[in-house]
Symmetry: C2
Subunit: 430 residues, 2 copies
């Protein structure tokens, strides 16, 4: 019996990573190698919103060159991502997804995202079955935070995207150390705020810049529970010892004594609604807390950490590609309701293998940063963390082609599938 | 007659650049090639503060490898910079500088900095002459802001350091465009704040990411004089046209209607003392001004733009080296009271030549951003700017060696000249 060839939709959800397009390339190139299984490969343009609105970008129509260039194109500009969540109560949205997939003869649905997205993919798979749509739904993991899956690293060792952001941080801190060395004593404190609201893998990666602990580097994860006054004490201790300090703070740090500060100063600048953690620390130091000549300053990389391609990890690029390829292979094998995953090989030489885990297990998991990887004083991470994370950043700069001095990113043609259905307004937008 | 060989002191002042060490390398390697002229090459460790405190790092004692690695080592960590200014009234400081130079048989003083530093170098040269010290003082230009010299580009075409920061901005905006494309409609506005308090060359460089004006990019220099409400209008116009907006703002932008805003909201979060321009814009948009779904967000690169080596310009690296070399050659020729300079060749093929201009002329000059390079609507720069700036960012990524995954920066041995004089506390610190 020859299986009928069906179309595929791949979509992305949530914050992007520098290597999210590597996974997309892995999906597309693998599908092209299996023309008997896969028909047209579509992207939900801007994720599930694109599916709801029947905006399906035709990836099969794109040239091999542009698909290959996805590997050096950071962030989610190629096919778009979204923050739109399919909520359980919004049953019309779910039905609409099924209608769109049916209308375009879609037999494969690949959803790239974090834990929430795996839950969504699972629900879509279940509903499809109920509605008589023979749909293979497969998850593709992605997040810079490394918060997908479980704390024991059994569902997934690390998430594509994390290695590149880790490398951004390690590289930036290496440069920041030169800045801070050169700038002291007039600017003795440089505070840098890292992404990762719920989990500290990103700020922890700053340690990779200095595994031998030669820099005056303090790393404060949200998990440390450190307050503002205590943090200022640690910074002043470092200034006394070394004359300068590099301070990496998590954006999720709860600076518990903010209220007191606002009271004692009588203004609201320190309210957390409008100011960032880094700014709060620096304002506090500069107004009352800095026991040294000069001033503290701060950097807020913001989105740069997830769209800087030249600091991406070549290991991460390769793994993100492989996980996309694995997901397409799982789809071809009809392995619905599973996520492609990366598991670390045993032994002293870093290596990984690709496997699959049930979407439901991922959706119901929560990863935390191992408490034993935070040092007792709360201002550093341990060598065990370094052993875990060091292989993920790789050894080399990625090769990013330049044309007219600028990175040559993939430019996909804006060719969309013909619309077969009436227009639809997603429920959350009504 | 054989001239007696004399020692040299090189010192840095003010904010660093990614290529400041290229000039240092140019000085040291040129001096090494002229052993009959130059004795020991010292660095004032942390600039003029190091000279005042007789902290003279021995650069002659460093290996050729480490000196060469200076070219890939960003910022001023190698020999340090300072914000300390020799003030006219602080005559003891000036006398101390002469005493230190005399004590170490220094015949050559190279000062790397901006306009102010050229003034300082000139004063040191004059005082040395009055005090009977035969001193050749030469200026080495440096600044990321491109604000050294004159507006007509006759004293200097551009300053070493600017091309690299321009390249940082062009590269970052290219990536940010991928982020913003992918993130809309949930995060349709990305505001990025550029350095350059007094002059807009840095934010202007964002245009190099998109000379054909395909991105929804607004560039607002401080010189535009644009207020907050008007800027919000322009951003909303862009959102209506394109659905998203990249906004590069100068840190020096005076958002004139802040006062009104604070009044109408009844709180002080928008006071300029504690918040940045980017934050003010984003807070305003998110609270009242954004005529679109989603939220505005902002990035604050901070010092990263001047210590990111991999986005440095290879053209800038080469020119910064050459200008250091030129300064050393000028010193050897006894050309005291001059600054080494870069002048652009005529004609369609980019090229420069190195020359010298009187320190006094540089010190008394002020460069402004040409008004005709700002477009009439105040949200872009012209093609004439692009023609000026494009050659400065070069064509290729610089080669930054990696060891253990991290950039291998120069590591100078901490070998200092023996102290010959009693201790000294700089006047401003008393």
């Amino acid at each position: 019996m020859v299986a009928k060839k069906r179309n595929l939709v791949v979509a992305q959800s949530g914050g992007p990573t520098p290597v999210i397009n590597c996974s997309l390339r892995g999906v597309v190139e693998t599908c092209r190698q299996m023309p008997d299984v896969f028909g047209t490969v579509f992207a939900g343009y801007h994720g599930i919103e694109g599916v709801l609105q029947e905006a399906l970008l035709d990836l099969s129509a794109q040239s091999a060159d542009e698909i290959a260039l996805l590997s050096v194109t950071p962030s989610a500009g190629a096919i778009g991502s979204c923050r739109y969540k399919l909520r359980e109560a919004n049953t019309e949205d779910f039905e609409r997804v099924i209608d769109v997939l049916k209308a375009h003869d879609v037999g494969y649905f690949l959803y790239n995202g974090g834990n929430d997205s795996m839950d969504t993919a699972n629900k879509v798979a279940q509903l499809a079955q109920e509605r008589g749509l023979d749909l293979v739904a497969v998850g593709v993991p992605k997040t810079i935070d490394n918060d997908v899956g479980d704390s024991a690293f059994q569902l997934i060792d690390h998430t594509p995207g994390y290695g590149s952001v880790a490398r951004y941080w390690a590289t930036m801190v290496a440069g920041a150390n030169e800045e801070n060395r050169g700038a002291s004593p007039s600017d003795p404190v440089l505070v840098m705020q890292a992404m990762g609201r719920r989990i500290g893998y990103i700020p922890a990666a700053a340690r990779l810049a200095d595994p031998d602990r030669e820099m005056p580097l303090l790393i404060v994860l949200a998990e440390s529970g450190m307050g503002l006054a205590e943090l200022a004490d640690r910074i002043n201790d470092m200034l006394r010892q070394r004359g300068r300090a590099l301070v990496v703070v998590s954006e999720g740090l709860k600076l518990g004594d903010l209220g007191e500060l606002a009271d004692s100063f009588g203004h609201t600048q320190f309210s957390s609604s409008k100011t960032t953690v880094a700014q709060t620390v620096v304002n506090y130091l500069n107004e009352v807390g800095l026991q040294a000549r000069g001033a503290a300053r701060y950097n807020l990389s913001g989105t740069h950490q997830r769209h800087d391609m030249i600091t991406a990890s070549t290991v991460d690029q390769a793994e993100a590609y492989a996980v996309g390829r694995k997901a397409a292979l799982m789809a071809a094998e009809g392995q619905s309701g599973y996520m492609a995953t990366i598991l670390r090989d045993e032994g002293p030489i870093y290596g990984v293998h690709y496997d699959s885990v049930p979407l439901e297990q991922v959706a119901n998991s929560e990863r935390v940063f191992p408490a034993e990887w935070i040092t007792a004083d709360g201002t550093d991470v341990s060598d065990a963390f370094v052993r875990y994370a060091r292989p993920l950043i790789g050894e080399d700069w990625p090769s990013v082609p330049l044309v007219n001095g600028m990175p040559r990113f993939a430019r996909l043609e804006q060719r969309f599938a013909d619309r077969m259905l009436p227009g639809y307004v997603p429920q959350a937008y009504r």
